[in-house]
Amino acid sequence: MKKNILISPIILFFLILIIFFYLLIIDRNPSELPSVLINKKVPTFEAKLLLENNTFISPGEFGNETTLVNFFATWCKPCRDEHPYLKKLSNERGLKIIGINYKDDSNRAIKWLKKLGNPYSSVLVDPNAYLGIDWGVYGLPETFIVNSNGVIKYRLVGPITKKNYGAFVLKVKEVEK
């Protein structure tokens, strides 16, 4: 009995060691944070549009169909790399993509879209990062998948790339179901 008690700290130690080792070897990026907005309604906000003299009102403009919300800026290099894939999603899959131009110069953004093409159904301006904070954004680009009921179902931190495009389309299909 006493021996068991004396040996228990050693067993506990190895148990903890196994847990730590497991956390070390699983494929996990500790700097990537899960969004707390998953399965919640899109935030309520109003924002000016970049290309039209009008206002975008959320959540009124969400719903009816699966929508992507993409935070981008001209100063963000990965956003440029991601751009062709957003165009592909818009052209080939006919997805509605709402772009949020995060802390950017509006003139530059307009030029950027003219040059590279515009995959967005509407582009919102967010000069003070208020929208970014509402969506829990902490690094660009970030893309949210919103379902047809206006509920956020998935967030991708970082660009859509050649590598993760397939997986991303699968996520979209899952949400579309």
């Binding site: 004396l6 944070l33 904070i133 509402d134």
Partner: protein
């Protein structure tokens, strides 16, 4: 020689003080009301910068940290309580944004386990002592 040593010690201590007081809050962010400014600073010290994750937004010079510092000050001026501001942040960024983990069911183990281990340790030492005392008597 002693004087030089003293000078070095003073230099080291003062440099440390300066380093400790070096924050990233920029002058244009300060609130007019010193009481509110102090509140903003205290909240900022407890809010994690999500870009450089082991720094508070009070220490970080990342753009997001600045945005959040300004947001906290704006909320204070609008008359929000500290609790409302923390709630606003955790609703968007999760509990991870707080540098002090909350005391709730999912974090219970985190808070209690150190004391459990301390208890186990004391228990084991106590048992061990008893055992060695008995051995002494047997001699």
């Amino acid at each position: 020689m002693q004087r030089i040593l003293l000078a070095i010690v003073i230099c080291l201590i003062t440099s440390q003080i300066i380093a400790i007081n070096c924050y990233s809050v920029e002058p244009d962010e300060f609130l007019q009301n010193p009481k509110n400014e102090l509140r903003a600073r205290n909240i900022s010290k407890n809010v994690r910068c999500l870009v450089c994750q082991n720094q508070s937004i009070d220490e970080s010079s990342a753009p997001l940290a600045k945005d959040l510092r300004i947001l906290i000050r704006r909320k204070i001026e609008q008359g929000n309580s500290d609790k409302e501001i923390y709630n606003f942040l955790t609703e968007r960024y999760g509990d991870f944004i707080l540098l002090n983990p909350l005391f709730k069911i999912s974090t219970l183990l985190l808070w209690i386990l150190p004391f459990v281990f301390l208890g186990i340790g004391i228990f084991v030492i106590f048992l061990h002592n008893n055992k060695s005392k008995k051995l002494d008597y047997n001699k």
